[in-house]
């Protein structure tokens, strides 16, 4: 298929996925902030949100040093100048979709377009201020719908595989960032919550992380036990059956990449396969003993490099 078309599909899905993950994090933080006993958790969360997206500088430039929920929400949801805001992501997703609307099924295109039109309507009405939770829910469901309509209507040709690759590469990145920031937020590096207060704090902290990746019920089902940080990390990094984990995301990246391989993509596939294997055969205690932050930083670098190689091999070839 046309390289430019593949490029647009790849970025369309990345932006849609990014919007969803941003909505997830904002939602969980917003819900947490409604509970009086977890105000401190929420405050850390608002800061974390900006750190995750590497936006602290841009934010303080505009809103000053005060990190208030209202400002963060505004900045992350509707700020047109913030390239990572939900608004900007959905606009970019739609622009990419429009550039290749002919390569999408009618239902798929209309879903993308409708999302954009409704977004504008929702932000203009006062609904968002009244009930941010409902808005985040909407963003998530539009993303579900977009994915579902793609799977349900698209021919499983190259276009489909590049679309899927974008989704999972972005998800791997987003989940890794979420883990990095949230684990970082616990200063004791999460070993040794001694006081009762700390334990309570920890429960909200870990359950918030789980809920932001729809993992709360999954955790209970898998471990049938209290929430511990080790298991949260294991679930989100290594469990290949947890759809938003790093392992699951990398599996999908490799699957889709291997279908579209061309004459010069061998090295890219090898590196993707190696990253996948590293997750497949890793153990959480090993990762934790060498340091989670170091592990995730390296992972993010490798995912980023993979994105660059995919671009070079397929999307923006020098011919």
């Amino acid at each position: 298929m046309l390289s430019r078309t593949a490029d647009h599909l790849f970025w369309m899905s990345r932006y849609t996925e990014r919007a969803e993950n941003t909505a997830r994090m904002l939602d969980v933080n917003y819900q947490t902030s409604l509970l009086p006993q977890s105000a401190a958790v929420a405050q850390v969360g608002w800061e974390g949100l900006l750190t995750i997206s590497e936006l602290m500088y841009t934010y303080t430039q505009k809103y000053g040093k005060d990190i208030t929920p209202r400002n963060v929400l505004d900045f992350m949801v509707r700020d047109e100048a913030n390239p990572s805001s939900i608004y900007s992501c959905l606009r970019a997703a739609r622009e990419n979709a429009r550039a290749v609307r002919g390569a999408l099924t009618t239902e798929f295109w209309e879903t993308q377009n409708q999302t954009w039109l409704e977004l504008n309507r929702m932000l203009k009405s006062k609904n968002f201020e009244r009930d941010p939770g409902e808005f985040f829910e909407w963003v998530k469901f539009r993303s579900h719908l977009s994915r579902g309509v793609a799977i349900g209507t698209m021919l499983q040709d190259e276009a489909f595989h590049f679309y899927r690759m974008g989704t999972f590469l972005e998800r791997a990145d987003n989940t890794a960032r979420l883990l990095d920031v949230k684990f970082h937020a616990v200063h004791s590096d999460f070993f040794g919550a001694a006081s009762e207060l700390d334990q309570e704090y920890d429960f909200y902290h870990w359950s918030a992380i789980l809920r932001s990746v729809s993992g709360f019920e999954v955790y209970r089902k898998v471990y049938r036990d209290v929430i511990t940080p080790e298991r949260v990390a294991e679930l989100l990094i290594l469990r290949a059956d947890m759809p938003r984990s790093l392992a699951a995301s990398l599996n999908e990246v490799v699957n889709n990449l291997s279908v579209v391989s061309n004459d010069h993509s061998g090295e890219t596939l090898r590196r993707a396969g190696k990253l996948k294997a590293d997750l497949q055969y890793a153990r959480i205690d090993e990762i934790l003993s060498t340091g989670l932050h170091a592990f995730l930083t390296q992972f993010l670098d490798r995912v980023n490099e993979l994105g660059g190689r995919i671009s070079q091999d397929f999307l923006v070839p020098s011919h």
């Binding site: 298929m1 430019r4 061309n262």
Partner: protein
Amino acid sequence: MSRPMFDEMNASPSEVRAHYQNYARWLAQQPEDVMAARREEAEMIFRRVGITFAVYGAKDEDGSGTERLIPFDLIPRIIPAHEWRSMEEGLVQRVTALNRFIHDVYHGQEIIKAGIVPADQIFQNAQFRPEMMGVDVPHQIYSHISGIDIVRAPNADGVGEYYVLEDNLRVPSGVSYMLEDRKMMMRLFPELFGENRVAPVAHYPDLLLETLRASSPATTAEPTVVVLTPGMYNSAYFEHAFLAQQMGIELVEGQDLFVKDNFVYMRTTRGPKRVDVIYRRVDDDFLDPSVFRPTSTLGCEGLLGVYRSGNVAICNAVGTGVADDKSIYPYVPKMIEFYLGQKPILNNVPTFMGREPEDLKYMMANMKDLVVKEVHGAGGYGMLVGPASTKAEIEDFRKAVAANPTGYIAQPTLSLSTCPTYVQSGVAPRHIDLRPFVLSGKEVQMVPGGLTRVALKEGSLVVNSSQGGGTKDTWILED
């Protein structure tokens, strides 16, 4: 103004024309509020489907940027089958002659030698492409897709007659609206299509693909056909994407193409792929920066060289503009006689040419009654509608014409036929035209009908979408 009027639906306030009777009966039974709801529904669907055109430099308050809807009117324009049959014959004849003409211009120039078209009308024409001299194109077809603008106006007896107003042989657009308007009508009013035998149009993309494949260079049996678009910010981008999708072929931009070893390739995820036929929706000027406008990034460097070698087909061919210019238009009836030895079936609008001293004198004296057009203008710009203009506007135009008489033509102000149309105050007559899309490949063919455009402003004769025009579904009613 008491010019005679011709309404497509109503012969008189009390009498509905025969071919509209079925529809008029149905329309009379529709409650106001239902039709109002349908109008809203149509607009909502057009938005969702993204059937929009881009307006440069404009911004909508609802954040949809520069994308605008073309207003769609619910009342169809109906043409009875016998009228269409003769129009179709006339279109085949006209487009065949125009293709012969373009071939002649770039080869033997017999029509100049015969003294029918003056040489300077061709060689001084900015649309004449010397690069095309002697270049052979498959089947000697230049204008594969022709949009012929037809209007109806009453003659002295009040009988409506069809006239060709303009030939569009470069990159005529609008066919996607023809198709989407029909889809919309069938969605909103399925029952109407059970009661009326409306000729289908949905097979247009098939005919188009067939036409494009037939224009392939001899170098391949399985040609790769692509649509070349200037990109998503072009006003007709929706149509480009739509046609590519309907034909199942790639929609490429200039940056996707490159020339190597005298062939054109596109960059794909599996490496370079050769391209055999380019349905280009980019003007000549932008096609190849090494030959035409050097700053263009919309085309592909070296494309014309490959084309001249016969290794790629470009549809429409380069240089077709020489035949659709307003200065060439007056000669088309004579072309038909010259090349085909036939009497023209479709009328031209009587045209005065600024280059002819007699005509010029008449133009200058009667400007307030004439439509004066700049010969190279398009899209309803560079045009004076005498009866609708102020004294000052007419005076300005008179000066312009005096300064450059060959740059202008004039026609009597035709009272374009009207069709009942939904407007703010209810249903009222509005002027319309018709653009059938004629395809020339192995044979000359078309789907029945075309795009009906309607001037929504009261009394306005300008139907262009860039100037507030809308569209209607066009029905050819089978017997």
